[in-house]
């Protein structure tokens, strides 16, 4: 099994090398070789995951003399299956999709290198391998996004991605430096064992080593997973070929969640890091989702949708639900990958005929025609508030009876409830022939989703973190003061419920007194989000100012 594990990152490197060396002789066959090797990689990854599921112990596989340790554990095997599976699909898709493009061979070589870097990152068992692979993912992505060498725009977006990733790389490098300086070893297993045996003992710059490295690893994860303020590269990185967008949204952007999981033993010993992670994730989830709704470009909308999803994934880490974040990134990877790969054909078909049946949903969502006769608002308000919460609580109660003692679980339940309730709230205004059937369908879908999410999340928890004490420790680290927690939760609930009730009531009674004032407010808000909070403008201005300053200094010093 150790040899198989080594083969996993080596195979794509070997294929890239063969394809580069014999590019002229192979011609378009580079794609075939790449796809076949990718299939073999996927089979190997599945075998290794099966081995872990069968209960194989966690092992360190040494690459060479002194450095290069690969960690064979449930997390790395799971990531390997995800990466090889998705990359196989992407490569099969690319065979025809990229056929007309210049640099066909170069594209497959870059894809192979990217997969190798991702696999190395997923299985890195020492700090150096982690830092090297983390860097390389950013570098290869730069060339993949800027694949079209004639497009200055693609190159510009690739550059933004590179610089943002570099910020995360440097945070990662700093964390590695501090950990090596403190523990005198590169091995992650040894570092984690030391931290477990003596937590909070070592200090750096006035903070515990766990706290400061946790914060730095979090910054690295934020840059990779497009968290707010480090997100601007993501929606603009669509200039690359569609398969690259798919791979990026499926396997690269998610790496932030993976990284936080990999460094879980450090985060379990922090005090504030997880709270910051939660807050950043929450802001990102909200802003990403809001920005997604205002886009008229399908790929950009998907980009912001990914940002919102990544925010939710990071937020899950922040509440201590580490394994749930891994499940989320896998689920998101599959559905977003499908959306990206089908976006092109959907646009192409829509140009000829939109193909959308003009049913109730169409008239409601697209033409914005709401029902004239509505259901009794009080009944709907009660259903909205009570039903989702009942479904969520029952689903979780079936899985683990002590679930509600964890604050993280409560927060996730809260978000589940808000989402489900919002869906019901929205459909209240929808014009439909068979209202009970529609509500029933929504409730069944919601139940299936929640039950599935809960059960699979629970299974992931036991597979990735079999040590129950450690699982509890992560949740307890994510916990805040009970009084504050309850207060914030109750207040937020009251605000949301009051908002719904008010809207139901005003819709029902046609309150239009302050329509004009609301319209102005709405337009200002829309202007703000349509400019994406002016962040890109601010960053561009900062970059231009720095370049002007550098030029002025050069002139002043006569270019010496």
């Amino acid at each position: 099994m150790e040899q198989l594990f080594l083969l996993l990152p080596l195979l794509p490197i070997l294929v890239a090398l063969i394809n580069q060396l014999f590019a002229k002789q192979l011609g378009r066959s580079v794609a075939k070789i790449s796809v076949r090797a990718s299939f073999v990689s996927f089979i190997i990854a599945v075998i290794l995951l099966g081995d872990q599921l069968a209960g194989s112990p966690v092992t360190n596989v040494h690459l060479g003399n002194g450095i290069g340790i690969l960690l064979s554990d449930p997390l790395s095997c799971l990531m390997a299956v995800l990466i090889t599976g998705i990359s196989l699909i992407v490569r099969i898709y690319s065979v025809k999709y990229m056929a007309e493009e210049d640099g066909y061979g170069r594209f497959f070589i870059l894809l192979d290198l990217m997969v190798a870097a991702l696999l190395l990152m997923g299985s890195a068992g020492d700090l150096l391998t982690m830092v090297v692979s983390w860097h390389l993912v950013g570098v290869v992505l730069y060339f993949l996004i800027g694949f079209n060498l004639r497009s200055a725009l693609s190159s510009r977006h690739a550059f933004w991605t590179l610089i943002t990733y570099r910020i995360g790389d440097l945070a990662m490098m700093l964390a590695a430096g501090i950990l090596f300086h403190t523990f005198g070893t590169w091995s992650l297993s040894e570092i984690f064992a030391e931290i477990r045996s003596a937590p909070g003992v070592h200090k750096y710059g006035g903070f515990t080593v766990e706290e400061i490295t946790g914060a730095l690893v979090a910054v690295a994860a934020f840059a990779r997973s497009a968290q707010f303020l480090l997100h601007t590269w993501l929606p603009y990185s669509m200039g690359g070929p569609t398969p690259v967008s798919a791979l990026m949204h499926v396997g690269i952007v998610n790496a932030g969640g993976f990284l936080i999981n990999r460094f879980a033993p450090i985060f379990a010993q922090t005090e504030a890091a997880l709270h910051v992670i939660f807050f950043v994730g929450l802001i990102t989830a909200i802003i990403g989702s809001v920005l997604m709704l205002t886009q008229n470009d399908i790929k950009k909308a998907l980009g912001y949708s990914t940002m919102g999803q990544m925010g939710f994934m990071v937020m899950e880490c922040g509440v201590g639900a580490f394994s749930l974040a891994i499940y989320h990134l896998i689920a998101h990877g599959f559905f977003k990958g499908t959306l990206f790969l089908s976006a092109g054909s959907a646009i192409s078909k829509a140009r000829k005929h939109d193909g959308v049946p003009k049913q109730d949903l169409y008239t409601f969502a697209v033409e914005r025609k709401t029902a004239v006769r509505r259901q009794p608002w009080l009944v709907m308000a009660l259903i909205t508030i009570a039903v989702p919460i009942a479904i969520i609580f029952i689903a979780h109660w079936l899985v683990a009876k002590d679930f509600y003692q964890k604050q993280g679980a409560i927060i996730l339940l809260f978000f589940g409830w808000v989402t489900g309730a919002q869906l019901l709230f929205t459909t209240y205004r929808m014009n439909t022939q068979n209202f009970p059937r529609m509500i029933g369908t929504i409730l069944v879908s919601f139940t299936v989703l929640i039950a599935g999410y809960t059960l699979i999340g629970h299974a992931f928890d036991h597979f990735l973190y079999p040590d129950e004490v450690f699982r509890k420790q992560i949740y307890s680290t994510a916990t805040i003061d009970v009084v504050w927690f309850d207060l914030v939760l109750i207040l937020t609930t009251l605000v949301i419920v009051a908002g719904w009730i008010f809207t139901y009531y005003s819709e029902q009674n046609r309150l239009r007194d302050n329509k004009e004032r609301c319209n102005n407010l709405w337009l200002s808000f829309y202007a703000l989000i349509s400019r994406e909070f002016y962040l890109m403008d601010i960053y561009s201005w900062m970059a231009r100012s720095l370049l002007q300053l550098a030029a002025r200094i050069n002139v002043l010093l006569r270019w010496r």
Partner: protein, 251 residues
Amino acid sequence: MDSKILAAALFLPLFPLSMLFSFLFEGLRKSLPRIIVLMAWPQIGLWLLQETNSCPPAWVIHLALATSLFYGFRALVLRELTHWVSFLAISSWTILWLVAGSIDQAQTLQLLALGLSLPLVLLTLLGSQLEKQFGASYAGLYNGLGHAMPRFSGVFVFTILAIVATPVFPGFTAMTAAFFEATHGSLISSILLCLIWLTWGWAGARLIQGFIIGKEDHEEIEDISRGTAWLYALILTALAAFGIHTLTLLS
């Protein structure tokens, strides 16, 4: 200040002595003397540094980091290749002041300095190729070399990557060693190193954009020969292998 440290400050160029190096290097018109300077300059500096038999004072280390950042930052707007090589040489060699504290073996340090100089030598050679072809090696003057000169572009991109300390080239090892040395000291040194690395990446990406990207606006251009490309590739592969080797020495 020790006269040997002062002399070392000229060869591992600290600001304002760095201006002398820049003046000298850019005054050289031929590639060969430039290459000799690039290879020999940091070696002399290291030799002088080792002759002092003592660690340089903290303020010298801080000045080295400040110089590195200053030249890395100024390199952002450079378009002329000789200027770029000169500034990046100063920015990367000054890191050796810090690395000298973490690597005891003089030979390893000298090899690492060689590893930093070699990609700069390659870029100088590539620049002279452009000068022959176009009369100047200037980013933005002729776009789209990626399609017009694919072999040249491949080598050019990898050389830039080697200069800006991309894993697994020796520059990455030097930066890693510098990081681990900096974490022994103050957080400010570490942050300065982060900024230096950021400016290198930025400057490298701008140079790639200036030469490689865009629609080709020239007719017949002669690419470098297959044999020359192989030679460059071999040197770069050897550099990468050497980078991995030095990385194992760090552990």
